[in-house]
């Protein structure tokens, strides 16, 4: 029940900024759309590599290690988007193993004006979606594979450290709320692990600590403004 309350609070917190955006009048929205092509840093595309530590609420004491890559497409001076993919493996209580492949996207808002990324520390908040394929299998030969596909909403808090305006290292924490088939891994009192599939939908929390490095490769639009 407690977790349900937290879920509701999380969803409200997630939906609040969206409602605030809808409250803006259409004229402002039009000018925002035009701003994409007038802002100095709109159109910048960054390519990056990332490594992450993953904690799933289904097995919080069995963190997984992931690696992957991401692409950022900047829309406005203070608004960026990130498109990512990760491959994560976890050892569940040393009795089972779990593999996650996920792709997703985020909209990032820079809390402080990055000043064209000349500001060394650029904190950001982000929200987005993620799609995940999970497989769990007990250790040992000929064990059955259980799998699920889920969709998730997520929020992220992080900070870029801009080594140069085009090159940054980022550290962030992301919380995913995966919605989909319920696949539980339980540690039994006798030390064995059981994997159970429940009928109907369930949710699973997922915390990621992400370390990434990105480089601004080219401009998708505003190409005449150059890259520096």
């Amino acid at each position: 029940m407690k977790s349900f309350h937290w879920t509701v609070v999380f969803l409200i917190a997630l939906l609040f900024p969206i409602a605030a955006l809808h409250a803006q009048d259409s004229t402002k929205a039009d000018s925002k759309a035009k701003q994409i092509f007038s802002d100095n840093f709109g159109g910048l595309v960054s390519l990056g590599a990332r490594t992450d530590i993953n904690i799933f609420t289904a097995a919080p004491k069995s963190p997984g290690i992931g690696s992957g890559g991401s692409l950022r497409v900047q829309l406005l001076d203070r608004l960026n988007t990130e498109w990512f993919g990760d491959y994560v493996t976890s050892s569940l209580y040393n009795k089972a193993h779990r593999v996650d492949a996920h792709i997703g996207w985020n909209v990032m808002f820079y809390v402080l004006d990055p000043k064209g990324f000349t500001r060394k520390f650029t904190p950001f908040v982000a929200a987005g979606q993620c799609f995940d394929y999970t497989s769990v299998r007990l250790n040992g030969e000929n064990q059955p594979l259980r799998s699920k596909a889920t969709a998730a909403v997520q929020m992220e808090l992080g900070c870029h450290y801009n080594i140069t305006p085009r090159f940054d290292i980022s550290l962030s924490t992301l919380y995913d709320l995966h919605l989909g088939k319920d696949l539980d891994t339980d540690l039994n009192p006798d030390g064995t692990v059981s994997v159970t599939e429940s009928k109907g939908a369930g949710w699973e929390g997922h915390v990621m600590f992400i370390l990434s490095a990105h480089y601004k490769i080219f401009r998708l639009w505003n190409t005449k403004k150059g890259l520096g």
């Binding site: 590599a49 290690i65 992931g66 992957g68 064209g116 040992g140 080594i163 090159f167 150059g226 890259l227």
Partner: protein, 222 residues
Amino acid sequence: MEYEKRIGVTTWPCNRGRTVNRLMLVAAITLVGLSSQAQKIWENRTGCAIAQGDLAPGYLFAQKTVTAYVDGDAAIFFENRFAAEGALWVSFATAASGPTGVKVNDAMFWGAEYHFLKPSRWDPYVSLTPGVGLVSVAYRNGEGVVMRTPYELAPLGSASIGCNYYVGSIFHFFVKVQGVFGQVTSVMPTSSRLDELKFTGGLAFNLRLWKPKKDAPKQKGW
């Protein structure tokens, strides 16, 4: 000695010969060093690529063994101080002390390098390179029989420090130490850690891929 006199060859007495050989080696190295100082090195790294391939050792902490690889690295400089890097490591000896343990530990890494200094002969750098391993582990099953896991993909995190020394525009010497962390999960009873230190060093080659634009427009403050 008589035979040597007859055929007109003079050999040094053993110890003296070794000393002369050493002196000649030192002289040769010094000459190479002096001549390389005269060679030009890159004044602008942007647009240059470096590549190397060599045999490299590693140390797997979990199984406390030295490992051996064939390693190929390449990097492309997009700026004087930034390069995108890719590397391929193929294991040919994981030297496990027993019949069980990590037997195949191939890996691919990708990421970014930051070079601390402007172009000069010395070029220290750090890099952040996540990757993925292709791993096979030998283990004992419940009946004590040694089995091998199928090849499994294992996500890896890694960071490295290194230094290049440019002796000319064509090639440079380098050393690099790479710390890797990760784990492989498969059918074996427990997962295996892949935490490792990898060492590389030797000769690498440089190639200019494109000339940097001198009059590219700049953003304010960039």
